[in-house]
C-alpha cells in the first residue's frame, strides 16, 4: 500500500472515529454538551438505569406527601374526587370494578420514581429534589403496605424492591378476533338467527354529569 493511500485511509478513519457526527450525511445539528444531556436525561428504567444518587425515608416522605400531594391524591392515596388513586385496590383486578394503583397494578417501582420526578406535583413538574422523590416513593410503598414505616429507599436498595403485580403483564396477543382468508368474504346474509333486538340503550345506561360516577369508568 502506498504511503499516501495509507495516510488517506488513516485520515478517513480518523474523521469517522474522532468526529462521528459525520456519520450523518446531512451534517445538521450540533453536538449536545454533557450538561445539556444531564439537564434533560432524567428517565429511570426498571433496572435502575437513570436513578440519581439519593435516599429518603417513609417518615420524610409522609411530610412531603401531606404537603404537596394529599390535596389531590388523598391522605391515604385514596384519591380526592376524580384525582388518581395511588394506593389500595389489592386483589381487585379480576373484580367487576378494578382499582389500579401502584400497589395493585403497576409492574415496576422505577415508574413511580420516574413519573413523580418528571410530572408531579401537577402544576409544578420537576420541582422535587432527588431525596424528596426517594422519600415520596418510599411513602407510596408504605401506603400500599409494601414496606414498613421504618423503611428507607435509596439508589442502592431500589432495584431490590419488586411490586406484586410485575408478572401479570403479558405480550399483545391481538388480533384476537377472526381474520378472513384472501378471497373470502365476511357473512353477508342471515348472520344472526332471528330479528335483532335492542338489549341496552344509552338512555338506560346514561350517565349524568353530576359527578357521582364510579371512577373506573373514567378515561385517563
Amino acid at each position: 500500500m502506498s504511503k499516501y493511500l495509507r495516510i488517506a485511509i488513516m485520515a478517513w478513519t480518523a474523521i469517522f472515529i474522532v468526529t462521528p457526527a459525520l456519520a450523518g450525511k446531512f451534517n445538521l445539528g450540533r453536538g449536545a454538551t454533557e450538561a445539556e444531556v444531564a439537564a434533560w436525561d432524567i428517565d429511570v428504567r426498571p433496572d435502575g438505569k437513570g436513578l440519581p444518587d439519593g435516599k429518603g425515608t417513609v417518615a420524610e416522605g409522609e411530610v412531603i406527601y401531606t404537603e404537596k400531594c394529599a390535596s389531590c391524591h388523598g391522605v391515604f392515596g385514596e384519591g380526592i374526587d376524580r384525582w388518581p388513586v395511588l394506593a389500595g385496590g389489592h386483589d381487585s383486578l379480576k373484580s367487576e370494578r378494578p382499582v389500579k394503583t401502584i400497589g395493585s397494578y403497576w409492574p415496576f417501582l422505577s415508574t413511580v420514581f420516574d413519573y413523580v420526578n418528571r410530572a408531579m406535583p401537577f402544576g409544578q413538574a420537576g420541582s422535587l429534589e432527588a431525596d424528596e422523590v426517594y422519600a415520596i416513593t418510599a411513602y407510596l410503598l408504605n401506603l400500599n403496605d409494601l414496606v414498613d414505616s421504618e423503611f428507607e429507599l435509596s439508589k442502592q436498595n431500589f432495584v431490590k424492591i419488586r411490586l406484586p403485580n410485575e408478572t401479570n403483564f403479558i405480550a399483545d396477543t391481538r388480533p384476537d378476533t377472526p381474520i378472513i382468508a384472501e378471497g373470502e368474504e365476511p357473512c353477508m346474509t342471515g348472520c344472526k338467527p332471528g330479528p335483532v333486538k335492542v338489549t341496552g340503550t344509552a338512555r338506560v345506561l346514561d350517565v349524568t354529569p353530576a359527578g357521582d360516577k364510579d371512577k373506573s369508568d373514567s378515561l385517563d
Binding site: K94, Y105, N168, T177, V196, V198
Partner: protein, 424 residues
C-alpha cells in the same frame, strides 16, 4: 362543558336532546312549506344578494360561517378530574371526506396546552448514539421532507362503551380520532444523523410540556415510517397538537405521538414508563394485562345519521355515511347493515385510500321510514374484520378500557331520532 351551551342537556335529558337536534338541523334543513307563489327564499331578496360583504382585509385568518358555530370540539366534564388533563372530541357527525380540519382535531393532553416558542425549542438525540445531537427548528427544516396522511386515534376511543352503550353521539363514542396530512422529516434521517449504536433497540420520545410525556417505541418502527412533523394540513401544527414539533407514529395509538417533542433517547431496553404501565395496558378478565398494545385495529362508525345528527327528512332517498380506518393498512371494504347485523350490503368507499388513513364510505338507499338498527363493519387489507362488541367482550371482558373497536349500533326511530344501543 362550558363551551357548548346548546349541547350539555343532551347528556341528561332525552327531550332536550331532541329539542337541540331539531334546533340544529331542523331549522336549517327541514323542508320549508310552500305558500302562495313559492318560497320566500326565492321570491324575496336576501340581504347577501343585495348588500356588500366584508372586504379582503376583514378576515386575515379565515373562519367558518357563523351558521357553523355548533361545529366544535366538545368535552365530557365528568370523565376526568380536571380539563387541564383531559380530552375533547372531534365532531365526526359534522364532517365529510377524510381530512379533519385543524381546529376540530380532538385534543388530549396531560398538563394543558404548552405554548412553546419555536425559537427556544430544541430537539435532542441522546443515549446509545455515536454523537448526541441538538437541533433547532431551522436545522430540522433542512432535512428532506415527506407528506403523509394518517389517522391518529386515542387507544381509549370508545373506551367508555365497554360495559354497554353509554354516550349518545359518535362525537363522544368515536371522536378521539383525527385524520391529517403531516409534513415532516422521517425519524430515520434524524436518528441516522446521530448514528444509532448497534445495541440501540428502543427510542424514547419525550415532550416539552409539563407532563414531560414519554413512551418506548421499538427502533424498527422508528426507522420504518415515523415522522417528526411540523405541519398539519399545510400549516404549522396547532399548539394543542404539539407546536412546533410532534412525533407521528402511523397506525399506532395516539399517546405515542408525543407532542412538543424535545428529546429522543436511544436505549437497549424499554422504559416501562407510566403511560405504558399504569395506562395504555389492557386489563383482561383473568387479571393479566396486555402491554405494548400499539397497533390500532380496523374500525368504522356511521357518522350520519347518529344521535347528534338525526334523520329528519323522513322516508325516501337517504345517505348513510361514515369513516373507517386500520392501523395495519388500508380499508378493503365496509359493509353496512340496517337490521342490526343480520344482513349486510357493501358500502361505497369514496375519496383516497391511503395506508393507515381514514376512509370515507357511503351507503345510499331508499328508506321506507321504519326503524333501523344501523351498523358498519370494516375489513382491512390484512383480512381483519371489525369484530362485534360481544366478540371483544368474550376475549377481553369489560375492563380493558383501550382498543375497543367493536361494531357500533345506532337505533334510528320512525321519528328520525337516533340512539346509541346494544343489540342481541
Amino acid at each position: 362543558m362550558s363551551d357548548d351551551a346548546i349541547y350539555p342537556k343532551t347528556m341528561t335529558s332525552r327531550r332536550s336532546f331532541l329539542g337541540a337536534g331539531l334546533a340544529l338541523g331542523g331549522a336549517a334543513l327541514a323542508k320549508p312549506a310552500l305558500a302562495g307563489d313559492g318560497e320566500a327564499a326565492i321570491l324575496e331578496k336576501q340581504d347577501w344578494t343585495q348588500y356588500l360583504g366584508d372586504g379582503v382585509d376583514a378576515r386575515p385568518y379565515g373562519h367558518p360561517s357563523e351558521f357553523e358555530k355548533n361545529v366544535v370540539r366538545r368535552n365530557v366534564s365528568w370523565l376526568t378530574a380536571d380539563p387541564i388533563s383531559s380530552v375533547n372530541f372531534t365532531p365526526l357527525h359534522d364532517l365529510d371526506g377524510i381530512i379533519t380540519p385543524n381546529g376540530l382535531c380532538f385534543e388530549r393532553h396531560h398538563a394543558g396546552i404548552a405554548e412553546v416558542d419555536p425559537a427556544q425549542h430544541r430537539l435532542m438525540i441522546n443515549g446509545l448514539v455515536e454523537k448526541p445531537l441538538v437541533f433547532t427548528m431551522a436545522d430540522i427544516m433542512r432535512f428532506p421532507r415527506e407528506n403523509r396522511i394518517y389517522f391518529l386515534e386515542c387507544a381509549a376511543n370508545s373506551g367508555m362503551e365497554w360495559r354497554g352503550a353509554q354516550l349518545n353521539g359518535c362525537q363522544f363514542t368515536h371522536g378521539m380520532i383525527h385524520n391529517v396530512m403531516y409534513t415532516g422529516v422521517p425519524l430515520k434521517l434524524l436518528l441516522q444523523e446521530a448514528g444509532v449504536k448497534t445495541n440501540g433497540k428502543w427510542v424514547m420520545p419525550e415532550g416539552a410540556d409539563a407532563s414531560v410525556m414519554t413512551r418506548s417505541v421499538p427502533l424498527g418502527k422508528a426507522m420504518q415510517d415515523c415522522l417528526v412533523a411540523f405541519k398539519m394540513n399545510g400549516e404549522a401544527l396547532r399548539p394543542e397538537q404539539g407546536y412546533p414539533l410532534r412525533l407521528v407514529v402511523p397506525g399506532w395509538e395516539g399517546n405515542m405521538w408525543v407532542k412538543w417533542l424535545r428529546r429522543l433517547e436511544i436505549g437497549d431496553e424499554p422504559w416501562h414508563h407510566r403511560e405504558e404501565t399504569s395506562k395504555y395496558t389492557d386489563l383482561l378478565e383473568n387479571g393479566k394485562a396486555r402491554r405494548f398494545t400499539w397497533e390500532m385495529d380496523a374500525k368504522s362508525v356511521i357518522t350520519n345519521p347518529s344521535p347528534q345528527a338525526p334523520l329528519l327528512h323522513k322516508k325516501g332517498q337517504t345517505v348513510i355515511t361514515g369513516v373507517a380506518w386500520s392501523g395495519r393498512g388500508t380499508i378493503d371494504r365496509v359493509d353496512v347493515s340496517i337490521d342490526g347485523g343480520r344482513n349486510w350490503k357493501t358500502a361505497r368507499i369514496d375519496g383516497p385510500s391511503f395506508d393507515k388513513s381514514m376512509h370515507r364510505f357511503y351507503y345510499d338507499f331508499d328508506w321506507d321510514g321504519s326503524p333501523l338498527l344501523l351498523q358498519s363493519r370494516a375489513m382491512d387489507s390484512t383480512g381483519y374484520v371489525q369484530p362485534t362488541k360481544k366478540q371483544l367482550r368474550v376475549e377481553r371482558g369489560t375492563n380493558s378500557i383501550y382498543h375497543n373497536n367493536g361494531i357500533q349500533t345506532w337505533h334510528v326511530k320512525a321519528n328520525g331520532e337516533v340512539e346509541n344501543v346494544e343489540v342481541s
